[in-house]
């Protein structure tokens, strides 16, 4: 039993911390928030050089072959820095292809994705659908040995700059579609989260050759889904950590009634609550990340626990930090709102807290029949 990062993982953490802190200062995040694509190609190229797009992908396909714990370390830092980057969308696409693609598809899409040369993103949620996790309404209409797609996907991350989409259909399958394919129209969406771009993508009679439909079934994608949940939960943990630190620093400096406000228990207890939620989120994240790497049978419940808890902490802690800051925290000029917005957006992605708690309830209530000591 040893619950701490290894030296190698510490190295990933400090490399990421330094790299991201140097690039994503407040002014830069604001510039990117107002830019067309929401990130800078040169930053992506540097991340690719560090091997981040392929961090947790198999070496066979050009990845670094590291585990989900390592991925969580990286994403905690991405959240801490509030890095505007298509790394998450590419991580989702990479994990899905790695776990559910054919060798031919991995050759054509995964290897260049791991190298950072090709970018992909999942297109899951159907416009107007209630959006239950794993259920889709777009039909995969057969036309000879191909599939024809009609419909609109929403909440597609980084679609404006992605090279390909992994489009989910009602049969539970995924299909590889290029952004430049005939019949594809990409429209930017307006999101509260200005540091991650979302788009609506229309598919009008888009023809997908058989070779571009993934062989896996609906259930297989939960393998990727659970790992993605851990990564997003890690990012939200980083958001919580950073905004807690901001609150604590402010509470030490800011004077009212002749004393630092952090000496008042109404403020200091709020900060203690932020620490509790941040540490709990971190424990849940690394517990689930470890399960992904070493005890996969316990991953689904562990991932849902992590995603549920970090979904809440990821916006509640920035919110509490805004309250500690008072009026200045409510201004556009202060950076806190960017963290709050990312945290809230993260909470809604890949199953919200309510959905994940319901999944945990399914798992734990199934154990109700097991004997307990009298």
């Amino acid at each position: 039993m040893y619950f701490d990062l290894t030296d190698e993982q510490q190295a990933i953490k400090s490399t990421a911390r330094d790299f991201l802190a140097a690039r994503y200062k407040s002014e830069r995040i604001r510039e990117l928030a107002e830019s067309e694509n929401g990130f800078e190609q040169s930053d992506w190229d540097e991340m690719a050089e560090l091997g981040w797009p392929g961090l947790a992908l198999p070496e066979e396909w050009g990845g670094q072959g590291l585990g989900i714990v390592d991925l969580a370390v990286l994403f905690e830092e991405m959240g801490y820095a509030l890095a505007p980057s298509p790394l998450l969308s590419n991580t989702v696409a990479g994990l899905a292809l790695s776990l559910c693609g054919s060798d031919d598809q991995r050759e054509r899409f995964l290897a260049p994705l791991a190298a950072g040369e090709l970018r992909g993103t999942p297109a899951l949620r159907d416009a107007g659908s209630p959006g239950t996790v794993g259920e889709f309404t777009m039909e995969a209409r057969a036309d000879g040995d191909r599939v024809v797609l009609d419909g609109e996907k929403v909440l597609v991350m980084d679609a404006g700059t992605a090279d390909f989409f992994l489009v989910a259909t009602s049969d539970g399958r995924r299909h590889l579609v290029g952004r430049d394919a005939t019949g594809v129209t990409v429209t930017p969406s307006t999101s509260i989260d200005l540091t991650r771009r979302l788009y609506a993508v229309r598919f009008d009679g888009v023809r997908v050759p058989a070779a571009d439909s993934l062989p896996a079934d609906r259930e297989d994608y939960f393998q990727a889904f659970d790992r993605v949940c851990v990564a997003i939960a890690a990012e939200s943990t980083g958001i919580a950590q950073r905004t807690m630190e901001m609150a604590v620093e402010y509470a030490k400096d800011r004077q009212q009634f002749g004393r630092p406000i952090g000496s008042y228990q109404a403020v200091s207890h709020r900060c203690a609550q932020m620490l509790l939620e941040t540490e709990n989120a971190r424990s849940a994240v690394y517990g689930a990340a470890w399960a992904a790497d070493a005890a996969p049978e316990s991953l689904p419940t562990a991932a849902s626990m992590a995603k549920a808890y970090a979904s809440d902490a990821g916006w509640r802690v920035p919110d509490a930090s805004i309250q500690v800051h008072g009026g200045i925290g409510f201004t556009w000029e202060h950076d806190l709102h960017f963290f709050l917005k990312r945290g809230k957006a993260n909470a809604s992605m890949f199953g919200d807290a309510r959905w994940h708690r319901d999944r945990v309830a399914d798992a734990v209530l199934a154990e109700a029949a097991e004997p307990v000591p009298a």
Partner: protein, 392 residues
């Protein structure tokens, strides 16, 4: 990172598990506290014979010299299997470790063995009616008289005072010194004139704790532990020991409680379906499981950190806070599931689950008060972990 037990840790766990299963005396008697104590003395005797009493104590003092992870495993297994508590729980968890850390050779030779066997029960005389969270303000006075100290004052929340031979007493020996400096740690013989224990009746109707009235009681100078004026430092060691040992037992108790809650939800019908099918109840059950898991994982992280640095950090305060919170919400949810039956208590033929959750609902109110209130724990976290300025 490795959250599984190593082969040797697993072997240790199996050894503990087998021993407890083979020797488990069954549930504690439901009769008088007297019967319960007899039962626990017998259980401690068995533990001692098999070498499980004083598991954290060094071997040279009759303990097992177990590693931190082994202690965690033992406490976790004992709680999971609902083994009884040993009779002298305060002596084992606090008294012994303090004598080992701060006591003289004579004190070690005199006190340690009877703690292990359960022959002499220990109690703790720290809190006073006017000194709860602000422990260092305590007023019980000890005045030197030849080679003895004469003690007068009042202690409160003293568990097992009525059975105890020895009291870990902190008293003020120098009223002129700053409040943390004027205290001394004594071992006071409870069996003397001038010491009187009276049970305090709690909101559960039980008398688990006592008030102890001390009127010119006498303590030989040889019973000072850690030197005159060092009482605060010695007392803090005791409290650290208490905190460190409890976490893994608490985690296993919560796990058992959650299983019972699950069963209650599966067996109780509300609005035409079982409580386990009710979306709101399901959310609350899941949230409790999630928080119990974060508490468990925090404790493992804390254990790793303690193994690296040698001392438990103030982060342990998070676990105690969380423990109180989860226990309280678990009992609250159980009563919500019971709905209209919630008032029916132990002894009533219509009470759900024998009234166990009603008792738990009441008893857990104290969880955020005993052993450091949650409000004080938040202060500790704010000041010692986050480095926020002191409120004073």
């Amino acid at each position: 990172m490795d959250l599984s037990l190593s082969p040797s840790e697993r072997e240790f766990r199996d050894e503990v598990r087998t021993w407890i299963e083979e020797n488990h005396p069954g549930p504690e008697p439901s009769g008088s506290l007297e019967e319960v104590m007899t039962f626990r003395r017998e259980w401690q005797r068995k533990m001692h014979e098999a070498g499980w009493a004083g598991i954290s104590w060094p071997k040279e003092y009759g303990g097992r010299g177990a590693t931190l992870i082994e202690q965690a495993i033992f406490v976790g297994e004992a709680s999971r299997l609902e083994a009884p508590s040993p009779a002298n729980v305060l002596g084992l968890a606090m008294g012994g470790p303090v004598v080992i850390a701060h006591g003289t050779e004579e004190q070690k030779a005199r006190y340690l063995e009877p703690i292990l066997t359960g022959e002499e029960i220990w109690c703790q005389g720290f809190s006073e009616p006017e000194s709860g969270s602000d422990l260092a303000s305590l007023k019980t006075r000890a005045v030197k008289d030849g080679d003895e100290w004469v003690v007068t004052g009042q202690k409160v929340w003293t568990t097992f005072a009525q059975y105890a031979k020895w009291c870990m007493l902190v008293a003020r020996t120098d009223p002129d010194a700053p409040k943390h400096k004027g205290l001394t740690y004594f071992l006071m013989d409870m069996e003397q004139e001038g010491v009187e224990a009276k049970p305090l009746v709690q909101i559960t109707g039980e008398g688990e704790f006592n008030e102890v009235f001390i009127e010119e009681a006498r303590i030989p100078d040889a019973n000072v532990v850690g030197g005159v004026g060092n009482g605060w430092t010695v007392a803090i060691t005791t409290l650290m020991n208490e905190r460190a040992g409890l976490a893994f037992g608490a985690i296993a108790q919560i796990a058992n409680g959650l299983k019972r809650l699950n069963r209650l939800a599966a067996e109780t019908r509300i609005n035409g379906h079982t409580a386990a099918e009710d979306p709101v109840i399901r959310q609350r059950i899941a949230q409790l499981y999630i928080e119990a898991e974060t508490m468990r994982l925090n404790a493992y992280r804390g254990l790793t950190k303690t193994m690296q640095s040698g001392i438990p950090g103030p982060e342990g305060s998070l676990g105690k806070w969380q423990w109180a919170d989860i226990n309280q919400r678990m009992a609250e949810l159980a009563l919500d599931i019971e709905g209209a039956y919630a008032p029916l208590a132990r002894g009533d033929e219509h009470a759900v689950a024998g009234g166990a959750w009603q008792y738990s609902f009441l008893r857990t109110r104290a969880n955020s008060i005993e052993g450091g209130t949650t409000d004080i724990l938040r202060n500790i976290i704010a000041e010692r972990v986050l480095g926020l300025p002191k409120m004073r």
